[in-house]
């Protein structure tokens, strides 16, 4: 295994991109990353592409060669591989690209992720996304993704005394961060009373506790660290790329207030990189539903189990807090949620932070970043640790 670096990063704006097709946004992100990395198409060895549900959303399967074709690279007959893991599809694709370069099989690969959520109605989009939970034993009985997280939230409140206002604060935080991100789906700031007063979705979660359904794409270029400086002055080393899984259905988990897949993926990543949570300055974590951010912060090891609520409300994850600074992109809530692109977009944000290019979102002195992406309600968790190479 050899060290792998991120050589370039690119992404589209996230939002309701009605005037743009799936293939257009996929190509924009991929070519953006290649230009950023100063990599030519002749050097490319293959692509990995994260996508949750193009078959249901745009009635198009087999999308990896499609993107490569319309990027003008079809005649090179490169390997092009789609990776699916629900909302963690993008992060899983990055794991596959990492393995390919680390193994020595490929040198330069593009890892992209894209989702086109708004070619269908909101209701249809939510139904398609709910298939990342256990369709036969949860969804058929009336469950949706927010309702499953709503039950996790209720139990978290019951066991640990977590307050409604504490996880509502996650959405306020995310929108504050996202207001500074030109690519974010929602750039408006919101207040705690607005979150608490929003229409209910699955109690205790309301409309402003839930990330939107967005269109968007993101991509990075990977290569061996030993030649990274040919392409970039600031290579970002992938210090760990770890995947863990758990039961599909919440009902079958050991505990519902702990996502064991997150715990496992994080512990393996920190062990492999010989680092600890306290070494991380900047983190992009899964916050598709506000309560998920608190559960994730606990399970990643940033705060003890059950303390996520008060710790978050204290402001320690905001700019200037004890840290790590969380979701400077705005997270899924504000930057947006194009499922297959989310895991890559998290990494694009970390690359900008670790290079010192995040402008008014910059966390000063960021050396180590963590990205955490979940599929479904936690059947798949992917953790990446990224570090600036000085």
């Amino acid at each position: 295994m050899r060290d792998v670096a991120i050589l370039g990063a690119g992404m589209t704006r996230f939002g309701e991109l009605w005037d743009r097709s799936f293939r257009e946004i996929g190509i924009e992100a991929g070519l953006g990353a290649m230009v950023d990395a100063r990599v030519s198409s002749a050097q490319l060895d293959g692509i990995y592409f994260g996508n949750m549900a193009a078959g249901s959303l745009i009635e198009q399967e087999h999308i990896a060669p499609l993107i490569l074709d319309y990027a003008g690279l079809g005649s090179r007959h490169l390997p092009a591989i789609r990776v699916e893991g629900g909302g963690a599809s993008g992060a899983l694709a990055l794991h596959e690209g990492f393995l390919a370069v680390a193994s020595g099989l490929y040198d330069i690969v593009v890892v992209g992720g894209a989702e086109k959520m708004t070619d269908v109605t909101d209701e249809r989009g939510s139904d398609i996304a709910s298939a990342t939970a256990d369709h036969e034993w949860e969804v058929v009985f009336g469950a949706t993704l927010p309702s499953l997280w709503g039950m996790i939230a209720r139990r978290h409140m019951h066991e640990f005394g977590t307050k409604r206002e504490e996880f509502a604060q996650v959405s306020v935080h995310d929108h504050e961060m996202g207001s500074k991100n030109p690519n974010a789906h929602y750039r408006n700031r919101i207040t705690l009373p607005q979150v608490l007063g929003a229409g209910p979705v699955a109690e205790p979660l309301g409309m402003l506790d839930c990330a939107p359904l967005s269109d968007g794409a993101a991509a990075v270029v990977l290569g061996p660290l030993e030649i990274a400086r040919k392409y970039t002055d600031t290579p970002i080393r992938i210090a760990a790329s770890q995947v863990a899984t758990d039961s599909m259905a919440v009902q079958h988990r050991r505990e519902i207030t702990t996502v064991d897949a997150t715990v496992e993926s994080a512990q393996r990543a920190f062990r492999l990189a010989r680092r600890a949570p306290s070494d991380v300055q900047v983190a992009e974590i899964h916050d598709a539903y506000s309560i998920a951010a608190l559960v994730s912060l606990e399970d990643l090891g940033f705060v003890p189990k059950g303390k996520g609520g008060p710790e978050f409300a204290s402001g320690r994850f905001a700019h200037g807090g004890a840290g790590p600074t969380v979701n400077t992109s705005g997270g899924l809530k504000s930057q947006g949620r194009p499922f297959g692109a989310v895991g890559i977009a998290q990494v694009v944000e970390l690359v900008r932070q670790l290079r010192g290019e995040a402008k008014d979102r910059q966390v000063s002195g960021a050396q180590l970043g963590l990205a955490h992406d979940l599929g479904g309600t936690g059947a798949t968790s992917v953790v990446h640790l990224l570090e600036r190479v000085n």
């Binding site: 209701e123 939510s126 139904d127 709910s130 369709h135 036969e136 034993w137 949860e138 969804v139 058929v140 009985f141 009336g142 469950a143 949706t144 927010p146 309702s147 709503g150 039950m151 996790i152 939230a153 209720r154 139990r155 019951h158 229409g199 209910p200 979705v201 699955a202 109690e203 205790p204 979660l205 259905a249 919440v250 009902q251 079958h252 519902i256």
Partner: protein, 164 residues
């Protein structure tokens, strides 16, 4: 969901048919062909036997759903719960015959056979289990005769061991 896909799970959805590991005695719902609990889980292959849940349990957590799952639009707001059964497995299902303000963690409930949803233009009806507060826990309690009738009406009353 196709008719065949729904039909083949009728024993589980209609009768709460689960499975039990003959090695470690852990009960599962829906039934599993391999025991996740056994240290040597290969030993459990072929030794998982049918087991019928009684349908009794209590609410472990709950939510009140306002943005419905597909096919449930006509039912909002509805109560959805994780129910910890007395035999051990946790089930996800609606809690009915209850005001939304009455639902709470720890509430004893019992499974009952109900219409779940209609699907598609053909209006295929899916049946399965939902939960309701147990009659004997309601205050004031109904006369004993009616209580027995209510219990007999559930498809799952007091069977407990291996299913046919």
């Amino acid at each position: 969901m196709s008719i065949a896909r729904f039909w083949r799970e009728t024993p589980q959805r209609y009768n709460l048919g689960g499975s039990k590991c003959s090695d470690c005695s852990t009960v599962y719902f829906p039934p599993r062909s391999v025991c996740p609990n056994c240290s040597s889980h290969r030993r459990s292959i072929g030794r998982m036997v049918p087991f019928q849940l009684s349908g009794d349990g209590e609410v472990f957590s709950y939510t009140i759903v306002h943005e419905a799952a597909e096919g449930f639009d006509m039912q909002v707001p509805y109560v959805l719960a994780l129910v910890k059964t007395v035999e051990g497995p946790m089930l996800t299902g609606q809690v009915v015959d209850i005001e939304t303000g009455e639902i709470r963690i720890g509430l004893p409930v019992r499974a009952m056979f109900r219409k779940l949803r209609e699907e598609g233009k053909a209006g295929v009806i899916h049946y399965g289990y939902k939960f309701a507060p147990r009659e004997e826990d309601r205050a004031p309690g109904p006369p004993p005769g009616q209580r027995d009738a209510a219990r007999a009406a559930t498809p799952t009353a007091e069977r407990g061991s291996t299913a046919a």
